[in-house]
């Protein structure tokens, strides 16, 4: 299982499409920085292909006033959770 990290909003960039295309059936995707916008109900449809495997970083949601506004499909993790995801993954791939 690999962890894919996306830091760009799907509203402005299409880099998430490359990440999704590269993902294996067990891989997970973590949204960080402006990427957390993808966790909003209006944008989460971009990630409908990976149910249960979408994560968003709490601190980046909070700094943007978006905490509590995420779609129910998204698992919110703090920075310690980010590290835990990297522990569980064989390798990480960053998309930016």
């Amino acid at each position: 299982m690999n962890l894919h990290i996306v830091n760009r909003s799907p509203a402005s960039y299409r880099v998430h499409e490359q990440a999704l295309a590269a993902m294996g059936p067990e891989d997970r995707l973590l949204l960080i920085e402006d990427g957390v916008q993808g966790a909003l109900p209006a944008l989460v449809r971009h990630f409908e292909a990976i149910p249960g495997r979408l994560f968003a970083q709490r601190e980046d949601l909070e700094s943007r006033g978006l905490l509590g506004r995420c779609d129910g499909e998204v698992q919110v993790v703090d920075v310690e959770g980010f590290v835990q995801l990297t522990e569980q993954a064989e390798q990480t791939l960053s998309w930016y």
């Binding site: 920075v79 590290v83 835990q84 522990e87 390798q91 960053s94």
Partner: protein, 130 residues
């Protein structure tokens, strides 16, 4: 586990440096070994010894230095990326006939071969891009 971080974003231009520093602290807090942070592309600006951000903002360069002093994290700066951006230590400044230097220990100028070595030696290499 042994971790390494690759940082390619410039400080204060985007969030990459802040994200990387926050991640680095959490890696150490969870008891892992952070072998090194490799500064590449615009990430080399994190090593600028003359950086003087406003006092009420996080001082990224000092943050990296603290990680080195407290946890023995190597701070490796790509020499090719650094020199072309005007970042050099005393030795390189002398070699290029420049007055003054902009990088000092504990940051060290190294080659990109060190990054390859880190990727092979560490269990995890996490990249923070611009």
């Amino acid at each position: 586990m042994r971790y390494a971080i690759l940082l390619m974003g410039a400080p204060y231009s985007d969030q990459a440096s802040h994200s990387a520093l926050r991640f680095a602290r959490s890696v150490l807090a969870r008891g892992h070994c952070l072998e090194a942070v490799f500064f590449y592309h615009d990430g080399v600006y994190n090593a600028a010894r003359l950086a003087a951000p406003p006092q009420d903002e996080p001082h990224l360069t000092d943050g990296w230095v603290a990680l080195c002093e407290q946890h023995d994290v190597a701070l490796q700066v790509c020499i090719a990326a650094a020199l072309r951006r005007g970042l050099m230590d005393e030795r390189e400044a002398a070699r290029h006939g420049k007055n003054g230097h902009s990088v000092e220990a504990p940051f060290e100028l190294t080659g990109v071969g060190q990054l390859v070595d880190l990727s092979q030696r560490c269990d995890r290499l996490v990249t923070f891009g611009p």
